[in-house]
Amino acid sequence: MSPKFKKSILVCNGSSCLQASKVNLIAEFQAKLKEYNLDNEIQVVQSVCFNKCTLGPNIIIQPENVEYSTVTKEDIDDIIIIHLLNNKIVERLVYNQVYENSGSTKKQYRIALRNCGFINPEVIDDYIEKDGYAALAKCLTEFTPQEVTQQIIKSGLRGRGGGGFPTGVKWDITSKSVADQKYVVCNADEGDPGAFMDRSVLEGDPHSIIEAMAICGYCIGADKGIVYIRAEYPLAIKRLKIALDQAKEYGLLGEKLFGTNFNFEIDIKYGAGAFVCGEETALIHSMEGLRGEPTLKPPFPSVSGYLEKPTNVNNVETFANIPAIINKGADWFASIGTEKSKGTKVFALAGKINNVGLIEVPMGTTLREVIYDIGGGIRDGKKFKAVQTGGPSGGCLTEKHLDLPIDFDSLSAAGSMMGSGGMIVMDEDDCMVSMARFYLEFTVEESCGKCAPCRIGNKRLHEMLTKLCDDKGTLEDLDLLRNLSNVVKDTSLCGLGQTSPNPILSTMQNFYDEYHAHVVDHKCPSGQCKSFMRYYISEQNCIGCVVCARNCPVNAISGEKKQLHVIDQEICIKCGICMDKCKFDAITLN
């Protein structure tokens, strides 16, 4: 906080809170503060995600760290009068009186998100005040490129985009490629549905990415950087553009940075909605104006990438860690996390969980800590069933995995993966077969079609899963499903196809009884698959009012007036209209 201000009001400006609010809360607060003549003492900061998305819009008042939820325009007067002027808590709005001490915050450790929410992303001075660009200055003036690269290697940082490849090693390889031009690319094409950490970093702390890209450029010998960003992220694009202009104005981008001979500039390229472009060779083709299809590696981008020049591609979250590593030292970073996965990881918690939002925890934190201590447990008191990590390429983990320390290797060993950090929690009402089908539907849609296993194999897998959900599956289908999954996994060209059967394989491994129930018992244990449902009319409650028969769109219900009615299961399409219309609760679902 600037010393000039006594207090700060952090208003969450993440997409969820922004959209939950009917008005621009920041502008409303600023206007009101002016009215009360407080605008010189209290500042309003646009912030991102406090991990309470379901309760948005959220604000935090600092330095006392009181958090208010579901704040509307009408609450502003109370917050100013009761809290800011009289130092009392507005009880009806308070989420957690002392945010810092809540279990949610204790288990968290912010490195990548260190500034998100605590600085104004549109003011470069705020970033500089938090040691911003100090790491770049240190690298350029005190170390050789090799020394910096060695520090990144020593820190043990691994790529946060999904692959988990050691970042320093990648830099080292690219630095050794000889060419007249090299490129640093930041992959901000966050396509994993349900994950939004990269967007939050770009919206909340864009300068950290610019600084890290420049450091990377120094290490590998590149003077050009490109951010490849989803066109679906207008706010992130806007903030990034502002940050780029400010950095140029301050001489932190451009020529002869910090009085050295190092030049660096950054351009933006837009994605156009293709999940496969998260794969680095596909991303590079997309930047060249081509279809985003992957190519076989080698050659790796570090040898021949964008415009056939050596290119280093890193994900947003990976870059966000770099300035912190340089400032605090590789040993500090390596002291956090597990043996082979260092540092922290940002996860996007969503699904059937109480606290939806972004969290950052040290590697090695268990799933139980994430789901229960930070996530606040399962919604509506239901029973935990599974958690899908790694998005559509990941797998389902179950109750027996709850005490698994999360890192790259433990997740892979358990049949899932780290991926970009999506974490979707499912409860007892979710059918794992239809969940697998949902993920396959996504892969079928997003497969680029270049290689046959992915293009055709995933389509067939999806058809088989649909068959199971429609009560038409056989035991043979289950064997076929497993075999084909392995074939697709082993023979696909890129990461998309190589991981797309993961949701099937992991659910078959952990919930085989559900698959079995679908084909042998002709039942969907969680009652989600429509085809297995049967509507019945109960003898006791039916008074023969004929309302159900009259409303049935396919005339499946027969019966005389004042007589018991019957549903013909062969004709019934399970639309549920009869159940809605019956005033006597005579229709039950089995």
Binding site: S16, G56, G194, A272, G273, A274, G292, I424, M435
Partner: protein, 157 residues
């Protein structure tokens, strides 16, 4: 349909020039063109191909590859249903079915009166509000089946 008058040709040419008629900038050019015309009909693609000195097949290949680009004009009120995982587990599929039923169109289609078009998208990052529906730029969170008709009614007048 969009008729390509000279004025529109000039607009497309200007967009291409803005990117130095560089075919490596094709995706940026298409973004601009779609922003200007709302969609990318064949005629527009032809002029872009000509100006960037590339084949129409290449341009079409790129347009059809990326889900952001469309060759069908959207309705006055484009409806997007988020089918991201978080929305899916909170019932987005049923919401989508309800829209299909009430509008009597499928995903990717536009109603006969050109008022509404229906598409699905993956994750707008508002997972806390799941299931989420967008009409134009306006976001509706925690949409229920009964809420679908209410949303449509807002735009019917």
């Amino acid at each position: 349909m969009l008729t390509i008058c000279e004025n529109n040709v000039a607009k497309i040419e200007a967009i291409c020039r803005e990117f130095n008629n560089d075919k490596g900038e094709l995706i940026n050019v298409l973004h601009q063109a779609q922003h200007t015309f709302g969609y990318l009909p064949e005629e527009v693609q032809e002029i872009i191909a000509l100006n960037l000195n590339t084949s129409l097949a290449h341009v079409y290949g790129v347009v059809s590859f990326y889900s952001f680009f469309t060759m069908i004009p959207k309705g006055d009120h484009p409806i997007n249903i988020c089918m991201g995982t978080a929305c899916y587990v909170r019932g987005a599929e049923k919401v989508l079915d309800e829209f299909k039923k009430l509008l009597n169109i499928q995903v990717g289609q536009t109603t006969a009166d050109e008022k509404f078009s229906l598409s699905s998208l993956r994750c707008v990052g508002a997972c806390g509000l799941a299931p989420v529906v967008l009409v134009g730029d306006k976001v509706y969170g925690r949409v229920t089946l009964d809420g679908v008709q209410e949303i449509l009614d807002e735009y019917k007048s």
